[in-house]
Structures are given as C-alpha cells and as structure tokens.
C-alpha cells in the first residue's frame, strides 16, 4: 500500500467520526498548549532574570579586586600582587577572552565655556571592544590612542557654565558636541572657576589637551557616567597628580583630587572578560582561590535561578501531566474506533490488506490527531501567551527600572524553537499512544472480526 493512500484513507476514517475526532484533537491541543505555556512561563522568568541582571552590568565580566593585598588566603598561601604578571595569568585561564587593569581618576574638565567634574576610567585600549560597551557615535579606543577618550552618555549632565552666578545653574545644552570642541582637563578641582576668596595652589597644574573620539550609547552600567581613556594615559596622569599633590602638600591651597588605581604593588581592580556565560563561575572560582575578591552579576542570576528552579519544575510537571492525559485520550479514541470497525478491519484483511497496512492506517490516524492537535495547541498557546502578557498576569513577570523609565517584562514568552519542538512532539507522542491500539487492530482474527456485527 502506498503512503499517500494510507494517509488519505486514515484521514477519511477520522472524518467519518467528526465529533469524536474533534474532541480528541482538542484534548491534544490543550495538552500541547499546557506544556508550551508552562515552559513559556519558565522561559520568560529566565529571560526576565537575565534582563534584570543585565541592568546591573555585563554578566560576562568579572570585577576582580585586590582587597587583601599582602595578606594570606584561608589556607595560608600568600596573596600575590594584582600586577601585569597576574593579568597575564588570568588571560591564560580557560574561557577568558581578555583582562584589563582598571584605574579610576577624578579630574576637572573644561569643554568650551562649560566645566565639570568627571571620572576617568583607564582600561587597555585593545580590551575596549571586548567589554561590550555600546558606541553611539564615533569610534572605540584603539591601540596607539593617547589623549583620546570615549565619553559616557550622561557625562554632559556634569557640566555647567561657571561664569553665571554661583547661585544659579546653567547646564550644558543637550546638543553640545564634544567631538568638535576644544577640550582640556586639569588636576586642579578649581580649574576654570573663579570666585571671591578662592585660594590658589602653590604650583599651578598645567591643563592637558584631550580629544573625544566616541560616545557611549545606552549601556546601563558605570560606563554611562564615565569617560574611558587608554590605561597607560591614565597611569601617566595619576603620576602627574601624585607629583602635583606632593608639590602642594602643606600649602593649603587648591582642591586636590582623589584617585584610585595603581599602588606600588600592582593594581586595585582588574576586569576579566569570559567568552562563554557558562565559564564565568568557573573563572571566578579560580580567581577567588588566589585570594582576590570577585564580583559578577552572574552570582545574582544564579541565586535567582536556584530559587525559581522548583517552581519551573512544577510548571513543567503540570504540562507533562496534561499531555499524558491527552495521550491517553488518543489511545482511548483509537481503541473505540477499533471496536467499532472490527468488521471493517476483517474485510480489508480479507481483500488483501497486509498487517503492516492495517497498522499503518491506525498509526496514521493517531498521527493526524497529533498533528492537528499540535497545530491547534500552538495557536492556542500564542493566544494565551498574548493574553497573559496583555493583562500582565503576574507569574514571574516583573517591572524593572531602566533609564527610559519603567519597563514591564513579559510573563510568558514562546521562542520559535519551543513551538517547533511542540509541533514535532505532539505527533510523535500521538504515534506512541497509537502503537498499542494499532497492534491490536493488526492482530484481530479475520474470521472473528467478520462474524462481529
């Protein structure tokens, strides 16, 4: 018997008992929908965690701090300095894409007629692209850059016009273009300002010319508020600042910047970038073992996942249970129709249907039920998912705050792969449910079947 013939024969058979077929298909659809919706809730929950955590910074990045420099680890090993050698060692760890020391200085910056206090982050220029800092304009930092900087999108909010009265505030206009303006920075926190009674430092700090080459877009992290410059440049500035501070010590004049960054014994902070989300925890374990403090948003993500794992398993369990009920429904329908059609099975056996043909006709019937049920089920799932999200049924959904304002996260999300899996799974499960009934049809005795009315 040809496949086409068994396909069309089985669908004709199903159509003969419309109501029962439709009811069974509905059962499968609901079972399929239950699994998809339950999974979609779990998936949405996971995505929401990810979205929330991403707000806290990049989860592929690990901040390494040298809190305990010079101390010992709990098992008595000396903690080595966080220096270039150690960075090289981090970079050799499995799953590490790169590492950069981080140095942070605070300076006064003048842009056109405006001035502002800014925080400058020094990172290695070649690491810039690895840190997933989104650029809105211009170019990233590159090897060979010196006094070039990339500024965070909120940095302009720090600027004001010092010439207007001390008691009013003229902020920088929003369309101010840093890339075209003449820019200078100074260690002197009074730089660019003058007001009565201001004391002058003993040695004047010489302003340094800088140049903006790029602007950071929405990153949701500290980069929004910072200026990023090549590490070596920032290190040089730090030396200048230290020197200038020494020259002015005891003079009482001027305002001195605070800074963090290099000590004689290596760096205080290093960022390590992993190349795979699954490696992050592993890398963190290795670095912690050396005695350094580690931080990554992934720790929060892991906590959230652990706490919700039980809930997600229950959801999946409910889904699977409903599908099993649907599968039993299929088997039941098949058995019923075999009892009804016993004589017919006898007839087609007599006129030459092979056992394989009979089995195939019944398996096909189950398969059709599964296919239609699966299609309908996915349709239902999308509808239900849409409604859940529209009415914001609060099961794993939540609201997070972003710079654009409040953002409501979906409570249900059906990825394409989930619908594909469900569509493949429903007919396969139906086939399984059809195996037992179809074997029974196959094994019917011809004579007994013919005698039955």
């Amino acid at each position: 018997m040809r496949l086409v013939d068994s396909l069309s024969l089985s669908i004709k058979n199903l159509w003969r008992r419309k109501l029962r077929t439709i009811l069974t298909v509905l059962g499968v659809a609901i079972g399929c929908c239950a699994i998809v919706i339950m999974l979609s809730l779990g998936i949405a929950m996971e995505r929401n965690f990810m979205a929330q955590v991403s707000q806290m910074g990049n989860i592929m990045q690990i901040q390494v701090y040298n809190y305990n420099q010079g101390g010992v680890t709990p098992d008595g090993k000396e903690i080595p300095p966080l220096d270039d050698n150690m960075i090289a060692r981090f970079e050799k760890m499995k799953g590490v894409q790169g590492a950069t020391p981080v140095m942070n200085i605070y300076v006064k910056m003048m842009a056109g007629k405006y001035v502002g206090y800014v925080s400058i982050l020094g990172i290695r220029a070649d690491m810039f692209s690895l840190l997933d800092i989104p650029l809105e304009e211009g170019r990233p930092l590159e090897d060979g850059d010196t006094n070039h900087m990339v500024i965070g999108q909120y940095v302009p909010q720090n600027f004001y016009n010092p010439k207007v009265s001390r008691y009013s505030w003229e902020p920088m206009p929003e369309d101010f273009n840093f890339m075209d303006e003449k820019l200078t920075i100074s260690w002197d926190m009074n730089y660019g300002e003058s007001y009565p009674g201001m004391t002058q430092p003993k040695v004047k700090a010489k302003p340094v010319k800088v140049q903006v080459v790029g602007k950071v877009g929405q990153s949701g992290s500290e980069y929004d508020w910072s200026i990023i410059m090549p590490f070596d440049t920032v290190k040089k500035y730090q030396k200048e600042i230290d020197k200038w501070n020494r020259q002015n010590s005891g003079s009482g004049g001027g305002m001195y910047p605070v800074s963090s960054g290099s000590t004689d014994q290596g760096y205080q902070q290093v960022i390590v970038k992993a190349d795979d989300i699954n490696e992050v925890v592993n890398i963190m374990d290795q670095i912690s073992e050396l005695g350094y403090g580690c931080y990554s948003p992934i720790q929060i993500l892991e906590d959230m996942q652990q706490q919700s794992a039980g809930l997600r398993q229950i959801l999946l369990g409910i889904g699977i249970m409903s599908f099993i009920i649907a599968a039993i429904g299929i088997a039941n329908t098949m058995f019923m129709s075999i009892y009804e059609r016993t004589r017919e099975i006898g007839i087609i056996k007599v006129i030459g249907a092979k056992l394989k043909d009979i089995k195939r006709i019944f398996l096909m019937e189950a398969w059709w039920i599964g296919l239609f049920g699966g299609l309908l089920g996915i349709g239902l799932s999308y509808l239900l998912s849409f409604l859940l999200n529209k009415f914001n049924v609060n099961l794993g959904s939540s609201t997070i705050w972003t710079p654009e304002g409040e953002m409501t996260l979906d409570s249900s999300y059906i990825p394409i792969w989930l619908s594909a899996v469900a569509l493949a799974f429903a007919p396969v499960a139906s086939l399984l449910a059809g195996i037992f009934p179809s074997r029974r049809a196959m094994k019917l005795n011809v004579m007994a079947a013919l005698r039955q009315d």
Binding site: D5, G346, I347, G352, K354, D357, V446, M447
Partner: protein
C-alpha cells in the same frame, strides 16, 4: 485441466466449552482450474469452514491445502495477505462493503493494498463496475443501493485483482430468486472470461444448477460428489 486447489486429509477442530467439535473431518479434494464448484450442505455441516480453509482465512488442525503449487496453510499472515491480493477474490452473503466508501472506491480498494496507482485502479474499477451493470451507480454509497446492487459491487470487487480463484460464501443468501439468477449469471460469465475458478458455498438448489460439480457436505465429511448439469464454462442457460 490442471488442478488449482488440493486438500489432503484436512481436519479442523473447534473447542466449544468442554466439547471438541470437528467442523471439517478428514476431507480430501481436488478442484480443477476453470471449474465452478459448489459446496452444498445443511447449516452446521462445515461447508463454510471448508471454504475458509481453502481461502486461507482459517488454518487446518491437520492436513495440507495447496492452491496451485503453494501450500497455504504454512504461509505467514503477511504472505497470506500478498497471496490473497494476487490469487483470490471473495464474495460474502452480507456483501461486506465498506459503508463509508462509494461503489467505485470499494471496488478499487483491493488494488490500493497492492500498491497500484490511483489512476490505474480507478480505471480498472470502472471497467468492472460497467461489466456488472453499475455504470451509473459508481458514486453511490452502499446504503444508497439495493441488496442486489450491493452484491454486484461486491462481485466487481472480487474480480478486480484478476484472481485465479473466487470464493463465494452464500452469495445469494440475502437475495430473491430473480436476483439470484442475475448474480449467478454475472459471476459465471466473469469467471469464464479468463478461465477463473469459482468455489461457491450454498444451500440453494438454483445455484447448484450452474455448477460443474456439486460437493455435498455433511458433518464435516464429503457425503457425495455429483457432476453438475453444466460442464466447465459451458454456455449457461439455466432459466
């Protein structure tokens, strides 16, 4: 004339509660190609069981059955199915048509299981329905047809795969006398065209008139064999 069906000392026992009933009790028989053979006997004589054994629908408790050179009581279920597709046709008392299929689809159904393409099987089925005089009933369902028409469909179905042997189990049991003659004419004419063998179970005396040989069965045994009024596919003029 070559022998088409051979039965060698065939037994078929049934268990009915504690009792053992010999439905077929030591039958040996040869049926020749092109013969119209009538199995006759009172009800419960075992004539239907004998037909089912010859057709491979049932298996003997003892003995051997050959169709042509094939020993059919040793074939597997699947081999039997293929064997039926190629060599055997069936006609039953209650027609046994599939109620949801049209006349045309019913006739074409055996060819479906042979794996013949749709166009070919529709063509062949149309041809046969025409020859049984149902040209204008092809799209009708069995429920829309009279008993005689249904039996015509069933006859067309039994001949559609050009079988060597057609088995008929009380084919006219549900029909009136006039229709019985029509059916018998039809069957014998169709069989004659390609020298096909007909084995008919009946207790109708009208039918025995068409037979080349009448085998009387009683209590599972052959009581006597009569030569019929007709020889092999002799011109039929029973009425």
């Amino acid at each position: 004339m070559s022998v088409i069906i051979t039965l060698n000392d065939v037994y078929r026992a049934y268990r009915m509660g504690p009792e053992r009933i010999m439905a077929v009790d030591g039958v040996s028989l040869e049926i020749e190609e092109g013969e119209i053979c009538c199995l006759k006997g009172p009800s419960g004589s075992g004539k239907s069981t004998l037909l089912h054994l010859m057709a491979g629908l049932d298996r003997p408790s003892k003995g051997s059955i050959y169709i042509g050179k094939t020993r059919i009581d040793k074939l597997s279920e699947n081999q039997l199915a293929v064997f039926r597709q190629r060599y055997v046709g069936f006609i039953f008392q209650s027609y046994y048509l599939i109620p949801t299929l049209t006349a045309l689809e019913n006739v074409a159904l055996p060819l479906t299981f042979c794996g013949i393409s749709k166009n070919k099987r529709i063509m062949k089925a149309k041809e046969l329905l025409e020859s049984v005089g149902l040209k204008d009933r092809m799209g009708h369902k069995p429920s829309q047809m009279s008993g005689g028409q249904q039996q015509r469909v069933s006859i067309a179905r039994s001949f559609v795969n050009s079988p060597k042997v057609v088995f008929a189990d009380e084919p006219t049991g549900n029909l009136d006398t006039a229709t019985t003659y029509e059916m018998m004419d039809l069957m014998t004419n169709l069989a004659k065209e390609s020298n096909q063998t007909l084995v008919i179970v009946t207790h109708d005396n009208e039918i025995s008139g068409y037979a080349s040989r009448i085998i009387n069965i009683r209590d599972g045994k052959i009581e006597k064999i009569q030569n019929g009024r007709k020889m092999h596919h002799e011109k039929i003029n029973a009425r």
